[in-house]
């Protein structure tokens, strides 16, 4: 049985090690925070915060305290605030150990597309290009195929890139794959998903 959203998030949480500073994207990646357990993980919000806490209780929302998705959040004992230049300085400078983010397409060479569909609504890349270029490890969490059943793991991306050759690992509802020399390598499959199932759903070269 393929993983659901929460199971994908739970699997992604296994990528995180004690002491890591991590940036989580919007969507499924946000759920990863629910599964870090006892591990001492510090979350960065790229609008200027390390040590991001959970959503506030009703009535305790602070307009001066939001995350990169513009949602109200809370601070923690370890929190530090800083400005956007400093925030992306630490991202670009490789101080963030890992980013977990969603994607529209990933290519077998690690190319990532997740910011723009030409001709459709153009919203902008936000901090995604900085994150994929700068952090230590880029982990993509996404459905293996789109709603039409077409593979999102491609030989080449068709959409404008967010970064070239930047993805390290992909966690989908069907399994876990690494970007290696020559293509993608299956690391693990979801329960009751066979490697053949996964191959059948994948356009990218599997090595």
């Amino acid at each position: 049985m393929p993983w659901d959203r929460n199971q994908m998030a739970e699997r992604a949480a296994q990528e995180l090690e004690d002491g890591m500073y991590v940036n989580l994207g919007i969507g499924i990646p946000t759920l990863v925070a629910n599964y870090v357990g006892d591990k001492d993980i510090t979350l960065q919000s790229e609008n200027g915060m390390l040590g991001m806490g959970p959503f506030p209780f009703e009535g305790e929302e602070d307009p001066d305290l939001i995350n990169a998705g513009k949602q109200t959040i809370t601070e923690m004992d370890r929190t530090a605030y800083f400005d956007s230049a400093q925030s992306f300085g630490m991202i670009r400078g490789g101080k963030i150990a890992a980013a977990i983010l969603g994607a529209m397409e990933v290519a077998e060479n690690g190319d990532l597309a997740n910011w723009m569909i030409p001709g459709k609504l153009v919203k902008g890349m936000g901090g995604a290009m900085d994150l994929v270029a700068g952090v230590g490890r880029v982990i993509v969490v996404m459905d293996h195929t789109n709603k039409h059943g077409v593979s999102k793991l491609l030989k080449e991306c068709t959409l404008p890139l967010t970064g070239a050759g930047v993805v390290d690992r992909i966690i989908t509802n069907l399994g876990v794959l690494d970007v290696v020399e020559g293509g993608l390598k299956i690391v693990e499959t979801a329960p009751d998903v066979s490697e053949d199932d996964l191959r059948a759903a994948t356009e990218a070269t599997l090595v």
Binding site: S45, E46, N47, G48, M49, P54, F55, P56, F57, E58, E60, E61, D62, P63, D64, L65, I66, N67, G69, K70, Q71, T72, I73, E75, Y81, F82, D83, S84, A85, S87, F88, G89, I91, R92, D111, M116, L121, V122, K123, G124, M125, G126, G127, A128, M129, D130, A133, G134, P160, L161, T162, G163, A164, G165
Partner: protein, 234 residues
């Protein structure tokens, strides 16, 4: 050193002109110079270019200047919250130069620090790199991005003393310091002006040297995405 003005309109007096480049602080609706944006709307100045991470929402932040058609170009990283923006962009009324968020912040800081260009890996191999100088350092390819030198900076802080030394509050700091640094003139709005000597010199986030004009006022501080959790057992 008289930096304090009575209100946003007076603080902007003599600084606004058509076709100018304005750097604005704020992320989403958090920490935006809402009073100064309102005064710019009232001034009727037009054909403005804004360097600002976002474009506000339809009726708040820079959005109010889009409604009036006063903005001709945005230098931003994300504008997804604004329908009027999309309409003007798709109809060709509005130009947009997308900047990765960190590149935009660093370009502002660079301008403020007298750095006309710097190299970054961000955007290499993407549309953002097109037309930009590429250079290799230690076997890796980088692109050159240019400093932003704005005609005017408009920013929002929490508290400032009479010399403009100021502090921000939580994530409302965001783009405000780099935006403040990159303008020829910087006008700042704060929630409270305090006497000189009130703020601890070790806690100043942005020294007054960057702040030329200062106003105090009431802020709406609108929340864009109100998200909450339930108390356990509630």
């Amino acid at each position: 050193m008289k930096k304090i003005y009575a209100n946003a309109t007076e603080a902007l007096d003599g600084l606004l002109r058509d076709d100018m480049l304005i750097a604005a602080g704020g992320f989403g609706l958090c920490g935006i110079p809402e009073l100064l944006l309102e005064a710019i709307k009232d001034s009727g100045v037009k054909n403005l270019t804004f360097a600002s991470n976002n474009a506000g929402v339809d009726d708040f932040g820079i959005g109010i200047l889009l409604q009036t058609g006063q903005v001709s170009k945005m230098m931003s990283s994300y504008v997804g919250e604004n329908d009027e923006f999309m309409r003007q962009y798709l109809s060709g009324e509005l130009e947009i130069e997308f900047n990765p968020q960190g590149t935009l912040a660093e370009r502002m800081r660079a301008g403020g620090c007298g750095i006309p260009g710097f190299y970054t890996k961000t955007g290499v191999g993407t549309q953002v790199a097109e037309g930009k100088e590429h250079k290799d350092f230690n076997g890796e390819t980088y692109i050159m991005e240019e400093g932003i030198f704005a005609d005017l900076s408009i920013v929002k802080a929490w508290k400032a003393d009479e010399t403009g030394n100021c502090i921000f509050r939580k994530t409302a700091r965001n783009f405000n310091p780099p935006a403040a640094m990159c303008g020829k003139v910087c006008v700042m709005e704060v929630e409270e002006i305090v006497p000189v000597g009130t703020l601890d010199p070790d806690h100043i986030h942005l020294p007054g040297i960057y702040v030329h004009r200062l106003i105090q006022g009431e802020h709406e501080k609108r929340i864009e995405q109100r998200t909450v959790r339930q108390k356990e057992g509630a």
